[in-house]
Amino acid sequence: MAAGSSTTTKVTLPTDKEILITREFDAPRDVVFKAMTDPALIPRWWGPRGHTTRVDKMDVRPGGAWRFISGTSPADETAFRGEYREIKAPERIVQTFEWEPMAGHISVETATFTELDGRTLLTTRTLFASKEDRDGMIQSGMEKGLTETHDRFAELLVELRTAAESSAR
C-alpha cells in the first residue's frame, strides 16, 4: 500500500455509548468478508501486537459462539468471547463482544462492508451498555498503547513498505 492512499483508520464517537471505526481495504468485499470470517486466518491479525491468538470457537452463523484466547505468554492469556447475531455475506456481521475478566460488560459490534470499485470500506459501529463501558474500552487502548515502543512500529512500517513494493513489481 503506497503512502498517502486512504487506508487511515478513523475513530469517532457518534453518541455517548458508541464508537465508530472506518477503514478501507484494497480488495473486493467478498474477499475481505471471507478473510475476516476465516478461523484459520484469525491468529495472523486479530490480537494486539506481540500477542498470540488462538481460536477456541468460531461458529460463524446466527446464534453461533466465538471465543479467542490471546496473550503474550501462557501466564497472561485472557479470553474474548461473544455470539454472532446476524451474518449476511458479504455485507454485514452483527456480533457481541465480551472480555472474560470483565464478564457482563457486553458490547454489540455491527460491521458493514461496502464495495468501492474493487476496494472495500469497513464500518464498525460498537454499541456499549453505558458511557462508562465505552470510555473504559478507549482507556484500555491507551494503556496498551503506552507500553508499545516506537521502534516496533517503525519496523512494521518498513515491513509493510517492502511488502507493498514487492507486490507492486
Binding site: 487502548g141 498503547g145 507486490s167
Partner: protein, 111 residues
Amino acid sequence: MREILSALAEPNRLQIVELLRRKPLAVGDIVERLRLRQPQVSKHLRVLSDAGVVEAQPVGQQRIYRLRPQALRELDAWLEPYRRTWDERFERFDEVLRDLKGKEREHGRRK
C-alpha cells in the same frame, strides 16, 4: 478529559457542538436551529464552556460561541492509542489480504 466527555454526553450539547463545527453562532441562532428554549441552550452552553469545549466572544450586543480547537485536540489525543490499536490490527489484516490475492493470482495462472 472526563469533563469534556461528560459535557458531550448530553445529546443536545453534542448537537450544539455539531452546529458549531460548521461556524460560530450566537445563542439566538442555536435556539432557532435546535428548537430549544433559550434558558436551556444557555445552560448547555455554560456546561460546554466550563468544560473548555466552547468559548464566547462578545460581538456588539451578542455573544458568539465557537469551538475551542484545544479541547478537540485533547479528545483526539485521548482517542489516538485506541485508534492505533485498531490501525495495527488492520495493517496485519492488509497483509492477509495481500497473501490471499497473491494466491488467487497463482491459482488463476494454473487454470
